[in-house]
Symmetry: C2
Subunit: 609 residues, 2 copies
């Protein structure tokens, strides 16, 4: 017997107990009695260790060192410097007052330092979430706070009920298509600020582009110039590292290191330069750029999220507000989880990510932060990358970032007055270029046209109709694709001769669901054909077999048995039982063993016609 056969034979036996619970096998170490699982679950809920995992600060704080403090502080300040312009910019995307973007960087930072398990992740407002919430903010700002609260509740529920598996059904092409569509929409919506064009921007990429060109005559030369210069500067700064060779002077090396920090704070830098320019011109009596204007700084109004609001002359109660969110509102918590978990995985490296804890932390951040006027927040790729690059060691980095932003919002609001809007728009547009995923197109084109269709559909619907609909259509097409595969499983066949009998082996694979209950018997009928005497169904690799498939196979076999002999080879006991149950007496056709030849030779020949 060769290695391959041995492996298959043993494997089928080993894994025959596997059911829909994928982890049961691994939680149950061989030899351990099954009631051990109950004890383990009990221990999981009662043990101190389990609760500590849910409040990770209790794990890292006791071991906190001075070196960690120093590194976290550096990281916190650098990330903070990026968070301030990004916070203001993302508040702009959502259509909220600028300080809300800053508040949304403060409170999640504080809460995450308590609950967060990934040192790198930085929570705050993100471009995509802002774009999603903008539709509702058009009614009233209150929707942003309520969205944060409700999203937080749903994310927390996902964490507690361990529903993270639902994310498995959003495929890579859908995620890539969604972020691409989001980047397009957000970028397009900023064209207006970048060129100082008047009018509104619209909720989708297509609308934003149309509105932009409709108002193109109102273009402002000064804004356009500063905006383009900002974009070029940021692009240059992104790649402007100082080359350090092994023979560089120590001074040069030190300068290069410092320069890296400057580059990381490049967003803050362009804002700073732009604001200084605007201030100087303002003092000289000229305001050539559209400015951010007065920011109501200081601390936010603390209080529960608004469960009713006034839109126009009408008071909307909680039910009305829920109706405004509708089912599409569920995309927000989904995106919250998606963005954060994807980022956590990207930066975790070989360390596994505790998805449950991340969802609990995210939920807690969104629920608690909305009490301090926060919009929905999640992990931010740019800021997390900077945090990681600065060598952050614990979630304390988030705390220091929060402190810096808090300082800014209480003390520096007068300075924020002079930030030119076009600079912020430039920052957003540059940030968006890094999240588009057009590179995937060529890879999918070469390897999987169907997945490319999923990606394209997500981008097109996302950019044309709305981001939520893009993700829904993409996920829907993926489901259709999966169902199509389930309905038309490939059947391998091989023709061979035993003695003077023409034989065929049909190999069935994996799961034979109800959807293929017509396909498999039809294939059996076609391939058995007229010249085959013996047809063998090889079910070694069949794990599941639905009732309808068994029923149709039986009726087909009974029907074809006038001219053929059938052998059902290596079926599982449970499947044999099913066949016998449907048609008593059918089990005589089942055979087992490594070789089929002997069974074929033992068959009664078909009478001649």
């Amino acid at each position: 017997m060769c290695v391959r056969c041995r492996s298959q034979t043993r494997i089928v036996e080993e894994d025959s107990t596997l059911s829909l619970k994928p982890y049961a096998k691994f939680q149950n170490i061989p030899g351990e009695p099954s009631r051990g699982r109950l004890r383990k679950t009990a221990a999981k809920f009662c043990g101190l260790g389990s609760w500590k995992i849910r409040l990770p600060i209790t794990i890292w704080l006791p071991r906190y060192t001075l070196e960690s403090l120093f590194r976290d502080l550096i990281a916190g300040i650098t990330v903070g410097l990026t968070s301030i312009p990004q916070g203001i910019a993302y508040a702009m995307i959502a259509g909220l007052p600028p300080q809300i973007g800053l508040y949304s960087s403060i409170f999640p930072g504080i809460v995450y330092s308590l609950f967060g398990s990934c040192k790198d992740i930085t929570l705050g407002p993100t471009a995509i979430l802002s774009a999603l919430v903008a539709k509702y903010v058009a009614y009233s700002d209150d929707f942003a706070y309520l969205a944060s609260f409700l999203s937080g509740c749903i994310v927390l529920l996902f964490g507690i009920l361990q529903l993270g598996f639902i994310l498995d059904f959003i495929s890579k092409p859908v995620i890539a298509g969604f972020t691409t569509a989001a980047a397009l929409q957000i970028g397009a919506s900023q064209l207006r600020s970048l060129f100082g064009v008047s009018g509104s921007s619209g909720n989708t990429f297509v609308k934003a582009i149309i509105n932009f060109f409709r108002n193109i005559t109102t273009i402002q030369l000064n804004d356009s110039l500063l905006g383009v210069v900002t974009i070029i500067s940021l692009m240059l700064l992104k790649h402007a590292t100082i080359p350090v060779g092994p023979d560089s002077s120590s001074c040069r090396v030190r300068f290069a290191k410092l320069w890296v920090y400057v580059l990381r704070a490049r967003n803050a830098l362009v804002v700073f330069v732009g604001s200084i320019l605007a201030y100087i011109l303002y003092v000289q009596g000229w305001t050539p750029f559209a400015l951010t204007g007065k920011i109501n700084g200081g601390l936010p109004h603390f209080g529960p999220p608004p469960f009713s609001t006034v839109v126009g002359n009408r008071t909307l109660n909680f039910t009305d507000m829920l109706a405004v969110f509708g089912a599409e509102g569920l995309v927000m918590p989904l995106v919250t989880i998606l963005e954060s978990v994807a980022i956590a995985k990207a930066f975790a490296g070989s360390k596994p990510v505790d998805g449950t804890q991340e969802m609990i932390a995210l939920g807690a951040c969104n629920i608690l932060s909305c009490f301090g006027q926060s919009m929905p927040t999640t992990g931010s790729f740019t800021r997390t990358a900077i945090n990681h690059a600065c060598g952050v060691t614990t979630p304390a980095g988030s705390l220091f970032k929060a402190c810096l932003v808090l300082l800014a919002v209480t003390l520096l609001t007068d300075a924020f007055f002079f930030i030119p809007k076009t600079v912020l728009a430039g920052i957003i547009i540059v940030a968006m270029t890094s999240i588009t995923e057009f590179g995937l197109v060529t890879k999918l084109w070469r390897n999987s046209k169907l997945e490319l269709a999923v990606y394209s559909l997500t981008v097109l619907v996302g950019a044309g109709v709305g981001l939520e609909y893009g993700i829904l259509c993409g996920a829907g097409l993926d489901v259709a694709r999966t169902l199509a595969h389930a309905a038309r499983p490939d059947l391998h066949h091989q023709l061979f001769k035993v003695g003077n009998q023409d034989c065929i082996i049909l190999t069935l694979l994996g799961t034979l669901t109800y959807a293929c209950c017509e396909h498999v018997p039809r294939q059996l009928r076609r391939r058995a054909g007229e010249h085959v005497h013996v047809a063998v169904l090889d079910a070694r690799h069949v794990q599941r077999l639905d009732y309808g498939v068994a029923e149709n196979l039986i009726s087909t076999i009974l029907d074809l048995e006038q001219n053929h002999r059938f052998l059902l080879w290596n079926f599982k006991e449970s499947h044999k039982q099913l066949f016998e149950d449907i048609h008593p007496g059918f089990s005589g056709r089942f055979v087992n063993g490594p070789s089929i030849d002997q069974h074929i030779l033992g068959l009664e020949p078909i009478p001649m016609r």
Copy 2:
């Protein structure tokens, strides 16, 4: 090399071209050039033979014999005798005037004799379709005719576009659950007529039962008595065959044959007896039973289906009427196809059913019949079974049946006046007992609890909320089940030793969709564990592999490669290309061949830590 290995190796090569088009392989006979397919398609549309298949009367009529005529006539008369009481009864279920049920037996019968390809199938109103249409008829009778027209159009479209595969996604448990729920609902709705209870019956099983018991005090003793006697008579007649042995006299044999015909017309028989009884009592001045009453016989009003109607004081135009049907209305054409195709298959035996032609015939029947005041029609199990049992030879049987019903509706309407309603209710209730599928419960309980859940959900929602919702929920749960299987494919593994290296083989099977892109790498990580040196991924049986799965496998393998060696065994060329595309240089890990041992021995050992 053993038979099994040989078979697998060859099969993978043979079938590697198989894609989503399941029939491409079979339409293209080996050796035939691929442009032959185009020619064949052209021939299919231009050839006279192809058009003859679409009008089967052109095939069977030239070969029609006198013996066929005699047999079809007998079958037509017998089926017609059943069609009359059933037509009236099903019109009652739908809430339509009795003659509509008869018209619905006439015109589809005529049209089917032109287009039908199955000799046995008898089209007419069915209990389930009547129950589905009743909801709309509550507004206006016009909805029934429009439903027939629209259903017909959709069914025809399904036939022309060959969309019959959509039915693959309605599993056996859903169909069984649906018919059970329908039988329960229809049976419950007839309790009112059976016992002469006043009030309305309600649109669902639950409502019908509640309404029945709410009005139980209005029960009529005479109706109840006659109804119960009808049911008992029908039950007895169903099984009351005359035993014929080999030594029976020829007279007895002839009588037994005649008796079988009487039994087949048992529905007509009980109606006849019941009506005679009612007539005699009526003549004597006593009307103890609720009677069918005056039927407006004669020919129907011919004309196009109503594209607008009046409900109360409001005129509904076509759009309004479509809005009344809503998306649930789509269940009607679906059920039309389901019932008819299922019946065609059941009676076709070893002859394959031309699903496309059946759908075209059904569509044409529904579209054309509604011009003569027909409600939606489809294949009827009872009448088809009688047709088959009478030895019908061509669809001409349908024509004779139609003629008999036409005679009855033009000449016998005065006699229909005396049919007691309770007798019709009894006929329906007995018919319903034969379509419930409770027997499936025990089989599913023993073999597939998940499918039992699908069945139960369909029955519960169907009986409690509405038949359409039952079928939707059942199909939805089936989709969820399929997705769950796709997300958690079983992975077989086997531990073995080569030299002093601990090795593991993980066997991947079938289709690895996006949904398992987290599961498979996670399993690889867990099973590779700490003590394994070499992990082998066996992909011989992998047919499809999504981008996300490849991407995650690569990152997991790169991550684990510090402590393990990885071999990717027998991957398809297209999959290798995908891996190489995602991570250039990855393809060095791929190996092929029947045995893995030599490859493991050739690996560079992992450096000691």
